[in-house]
Subunit: 361 residues, 2 copies
């Protein structure tokens, strides 16, 4: 079985930020969080989805809130243990493993902090294969799996266990509590059996994040193109290159929303790509033409280093390359698109797979 050590965290955090599509939190914070828990503990086993027993209890763990605040309000790492213990106590069952529900700079790493502290493994999977802004936006929701009972905790010692009749109510309640808790909180959510994890989540996401991070690192070491390396590992496409122009952002109800303009350079000279985000980049348009749209991934990389840029760190003048990466096929089903397609976010565009547009290039 693969063991994750502190030495692997750099690659995982970097790769996670690529799949985070501008959200999912600052990888620096995620790395610090996992590192402080893992330094004094044995390596964390990374469990293959196939190795789970059908009745194992898996308790995914995550941070909820606006990435902006995560940066200002570094989590202590203990509140997530409070939340996880509260939920296990409520369920009256032993936790076999934890796992991420989203790929992102923080949320790919949170489960490693929990696993190290509780002495349990992490499942090599997640519920998105990317990052999304709302709690119910995970593939298990497609199969009707309940987000609750879920636990939420803050750094002051407050916590709550929530039970709802559907996952939209979970999002509503957890979002309000997150705002009250200072705009970021730690959660244990979507308790699942091993069988449910096998049937409804996206397998291999943790090892994919590590491969992406390693590809970027090795490209630096070998002086090869890190962007090509990322495209190779993710089956992604470089859809734009340019210079960041206006970035408009506002924090609304715990979300970091806004729009970024990327003024084209090279082959894109004279045109402007407009990317809208809500924690994550959700739609990229060249004028009226939709280039990439959720659930496919829109990732902005530094043109030189290939390192991913979050919506929060995006600044005027940055030279960037924008990638479009195919989303997991589960998101492309009718029910998947209902949950996270452009229509849910209020965009009039219809979804068209990124490889259909750029695959021929």
């Amino acid at each position: 079985m693969k063991q994750i050590t502190v030495g692997n965290l750099e690659d995982i955090a970097l790769g996670a930020a690529v799949l985070g599509t501008g959200g999912g939190g600052d990888p620096y914070i995620g790395k610090l969080l996992a590192k402080s828990a893992m330094t004094d503990n044995p390596p964390v086993p990374l469990l293959d989805v196939a190795s789970l027993n059908d009745d194992d209890l898996i308790l995914p763990t995550a941070m909820m809130g606006a990435p902006t605040v995560m940066v200002e309000k570094m989590p202590a790492g203990t509140e997530i243990i409070t939340a996880t213990r509260a939920l296990a106590e409520f369920l009256g069952q032993e936790i076999v493993a934890t796992m991420p529900m989203e790929a992102g700079g923080v949320n790919s790493l949170v489960p490693f902090s929990v696993a190290a502290q509780l002495g349990i493994p992490v499942v090599d999977a997640d519920g998105m294969g990317r990052a999304f802004p709302e709690l119910q936006m995970v593939t298990p929701t497609i199969w009707g799996i309940a987000a609750t009972p879920m636990a939420i905790a803050d750094d002051k010692g407050n916590s709550a266990v929530i039970q709802t009749v559907n996952n939209h109510w979970t999002e509503t309640f957890a979002r309000s509590l997150t705002v009250d808790m200072g705009a970021s909180a730690m959660i244990s959510v979507f308790p699942m059996t091993g069988k449910q994890v096998k049937e409804t989540t996206i397998p291999g996401t943790v090892s994919l994040t590590e491969r992406i991070g390693r590809a970027i690192r090795e490209a630096h070491e070998r002086h090869t193109d890190p962007i090509q390396a990322v495209c190779g590992v993710t089956n992604g496409f470089a859809i734009w290159q340019g210079k960041v122009g206006d970035v408009e952002r506002r924090t609304v109800g715990g979300f970091a929303r806004g729009t970024a303009e990327i003024e084209g350079t090279g082959a894109y000279q004279g045109r402007t790509l407009e990317i809208e985000f809500q924690n994550e980049f959700l739609i990229a348009r060249d004028g009226d033409e939709v280039m990439v749209t959720t659930p496919d991934l829109i990732t902005v990389l530094d043109a030189e280093t290939g390192e991913p840029i979050t919506t929060e760190s995006l600044r005027y003048g940055f030279r960037v390359v924008v990638l479009g990466i195919p989303s997991n096929e589960r998101w492309r089903s009718a029910r998947g698109l209902e949950l996270v397609g452009p229509g849910y976010f209020g965009y009039e565009a219809s979804f068209s797979p990124v490889e259909a547009r750029f695959g021929g290039k």
Copy 2:
């Protein structure tokens, strides 16, 4: 032991609305709620505080939210059972009795609905001896008793169990969830031992509410003055009579706030009493002069019938008498005034006992 039947509900609801000081909910709703649960069940025993065993688990029950909404959104009566069961399950202990935490048209009656459905008694006490707008404003808070673990539930089947580091956080979280739940929710809160109930709550509040209601009813039957009857039972003072002028109200964050002007008649002709409320009437001023202030009770009665008028049903032209009623001595301690004195609500007035001003009359 005294048994409460459907026949007692009328008096309790009426008396509770007097102590509700304009808030605490519509007694009509409270009565309906308790009646529907009690009709098909045996009478509910009313337990004297002294008869509690020190280690009995007492689980107070209440409705949280703006009275305005309570009127529009009649509770089903089942959500409170969900909340109470969720909390008992969480505590892993058997409930010996429930009790009200506030005296008011709805919240004096909610525990009878719960008691009838669960087949348990109601303790003859409450945590305020009146109504107050926030959850932490109960005498047990003076002794540092925690409001949590508490349960909250809505009519759709959603619920949460909250644990906080202090009772102000409980109020914050429960208020947000109440707003999300449609501006009113049912709660089980302040789980206490029998010893804690004996030492920190206000004994006899339920039987007092019944005596007040009975006094009004009997005054009607005997064609005597119902207002004098209320003053007799409550040791209150008629401090004003007049006609309701302007009433300004707004619902802010789940609270019904506003100001009512009472244009004096008779001995008060030519002067105007201004009463400010936040769910409950909190301060009554004649110009710059403070007549009565929280924690003492300000109650507005119909001048003819002596029936209490809630802040929500107060309308232009009503002929009313305003009462000032002494609050329980526990509220008049330094810590009590810190929790619910005029300063907490942002008024510059200092507290002066109502009987000190009007007792000589």
